[in-house]
């Protein structure tokens, strides 16, 4: 049903690689991501520490894997939650009573009145350092995109000959969703999901970067970037690691979602 382009396949391959690293890295090296070893700070990558150590002597190979796990988990949770809520609400808004559509439209207008990052910042302020609060806030913003696209497509299709024809032949609503709405929603859904995953990761890193997201000593990509910045000239590889990891995972998602022209 979904024919992936070469670009999308390369994105998928990159993503699989990154997930494999995040999941398997802790199995390959002993220790954990938070143990400090002040006699071994800022060591460059070597046989013991494959990616070196940070300013507290923590094992970067493991810290980076932990940070990746956190980012990927956030992305996956946000995508699944907002896709399910958005598509359900979108299809219902297009096919049910007009008042439901108007109520949904009002809710969307309200949420869109505030830039997403600002909303997430305020949520983050309520329960500082909470992964779950970030998840709720990001999903609260992201479901709208799924909602709008499913609503628009469904609304167009309800008037289409194909749906009318199925209705005339006596098919029920679930059949029409399965054969008409969902196949039409699926391709853009995939694109939105891929970009949504990228955005969720960026959002969490941005909050970490301004110190209001995930709190230390937990490893988080944005947080690591600020923490490592002071050592950029002594240990450039240290700063490069979270930067590269963040760029790669976002790039993987964006390549996966990329259409033809943009």
């Amino acid at each position: 049903m979904l024919a992936l382009s070469t670009t999308q396949k390369s994105g998928l391959a990159l993503l699989v690689l990154l997930i494999a690293y995040a999941l398997c890295a802790p199995l390959l090296q002993a220790g954990d991501a938070t143990t400090q070893n002040l006699s071994q700070i800022l060591t460059s990558p070597n046989a013991d520490y494959w990616l070196g150590t940070d300013h507290f002597g923590r094992n970067m190979w493991l810290r980076l894997a932990e940070a990746m796990q956190l980012s990927l988990m956030m992305a996956a949770l946000c995508v699944i939650t907002s896709a399910i809520i958005g598509v359900t609400a979108g299809v219902l808004a297009a096919t049910r009573a007009p008042w439901f559509d108007r109520v949904m439209d009002g809710i969307v207008t309200m949420i869109l009145a505030l830039p997403g990052l600002v909303l997430v910042l305020i949520f983050a302020a309520i329960v500082p350092g909470s992964f779950w609060m970030l998840y709720v806030a990001i999903s609260l913003i992201q479901w709208i995109e799924y909602f709008r696209i499913s609503r628009a497509i469904t609304q167009r299709l309800t008037q289409s000959p194909a749906v009318q024809s199925s209705k005339l032949m006596g098919f029920g609503e679930w059949y029409i969703f399965r054969r008409h709405y969902f196949p039409a929603i699926m391709p853009p859904l995939f694109t939105i999901a891929a970009f949504g995953a990228a955005n969720a990761i960026l959002m969490m890193a941005s909050l970490g970067f301004v110190y209001v997201g995930i709190q230390p000593p937990l490893a988080e990509l944005g947080l690591m970037i600020v923490e490592h910045f002071p050592y950029y000239s002594d240990a450039p590889w240290l700063l490069a690691q979270p930067l590269a990891a963040l760029a790669l995972v976002v790039l993987a998602c964006q390549l996966m979602g990329r259409g033809k022209s943009l």
Binding site: G106, T109, M110, L112, A113, L114, P115, G116, L117, V118, L119, L121, I122, F123, A124, A125, I126, V127, A198, L202, A205, S206, F209, V210, Y211, V212, G222, I225, F229, Y232, S233, L243, L246, A247, L248, V250, L251, Q254, L255, R258, S261, L262
Partner: protein
């Protein structure tokens, strides 16, 4: 058009209500004696005693039930009584105006540079295609994969720390504006040059553009009379969508460069749990966002007589 403006007005109300409610929840969920902290911010640490705190408690309705406190909170908000900063003690509304100027300067400069970069590149890559298009596509893709604060960080390392061309952070001279504005501009241009490219390509390949040439217009005449406006309509509509990127970029860039705008203020207020300032800054960002969106709506309305933006 009227309906759109009405919708924007509704959004203004929604912003105020949303921000107010969230900060109210934030306040009620804070540990410690809120009244004492607010009193300290008002009268100064030295003048505070439990009597002053009691007065504040009564005034802010902290001794009341949640519902009436909520009501009190809103009456204050609607009368633009935003209170004083818990950290500096200065009135929030005063520092907001100060910050707004800085944020608008940054956003304006960033958007202007972005357009100067994106318009020629987008049009050229659509017209000639080929290697120029491929290079731009690659560069844009990579730039979009990198969050805006990383672009800023790299700019700081290269232009400020290594080459000493511009100051690392702060404000005051035009030189201080260069790196923050450039960072914002690059992150915006990475997306908008592709949008302009796509729209220009659509127009150049459209039947009406071909027909304009067929009926005898020169390439330049066709572009001037039938190209510019048709490309501008979706691009300006897209600007409305990109405003989110602008606002989010402003938050991140101000924090990175210690640029004393609203985004910087908001991030710091959250870090310091300075609730009145959180409320004020978030409110200001929301209002700014809605107002800019309205301006885009109006621009679209005049560019496209068929009636408003589709997005």
């Amino acid at each position: 058009m009227r309906q759109l403006l009405l919708k924007r007005l509704l959004q203004l109300i929604a912003v105020s209500w949303g921000v107010g409610t969230l900060t109210f929840i934030l306040m009620r969920s804070l540990p410690g004696d809120m009244a004492y902290r607010i009193a300290a911010s008002r009268y100064g640490m030295d003048a505070v005693d439990s009597r002053a705190a009691d007065i504040v408690r009564e005034e802010l309705g902290l001794d009341q039930g949640a519902l009436s406190a909520y009501w009190q909170w809103f009456t204050d908000l609607l009368s633009w009584n935003l209170g004083n900063s818990l950290v500096s003690g200065a009135p929030v509304s005063e520092s907001l105006w100060h910050m707004l100027g800085h944020s608008l300067l940054l956003a304006g400069a960033g958007m202007a540079i972005a357009l100067i970069i994106a318009i020629p590149l987008g049009l050229a890559s659509a017209y000639w295609g080929g290697w120029l298009d491929r290079i731009l596509l690659t560069v844009s893709t990579v730039m979009r994969a990198v969050p805006v604060f990383v672009i800023g960080l790299l700019a700081v390392i290269v232009f400020a720390l290594e080459w000493n061309l511009f100051p690392v952070a702060g404000f005051g001279t035009p030189a201080h504006l260069v790196l923050p504005a450039l960072t914002l501009a690059l992150s915006l241009a990475a997306i908008s040059n592709r949008v302009i490219h796509t729209e220009a390509k659509r127009v150049f390949g459209s039947s009406f553009y071909e027909f304009a040439r067929m009926k005898g217009l020169s390439p330049w005449q066709a572009f001037k009379h039938h190209g510019i406006r048709n490309i501008a309509v979706p691009v300006v509509a897209f600007l409305g969508i990109q405003l989110i990127t602008v606002v989010e970029g402003v938050v991140m860039i101000e924090s990175l460069f210690s640029w004393p705008g609203i985004g910087h203020g908001l991030a710091h207020a959250i870090f310091a749990r300075d609730i009145p300032l959180i409320q004020g800054a978030a409110l200001m960002m929301g209002v700014m966002f809605v107002v800019l969106n309205t301006l885009v709506d109006i621009a679209c309305h005049y560019l496209d007589p068929r009636g408003g933006r589709i997005a």
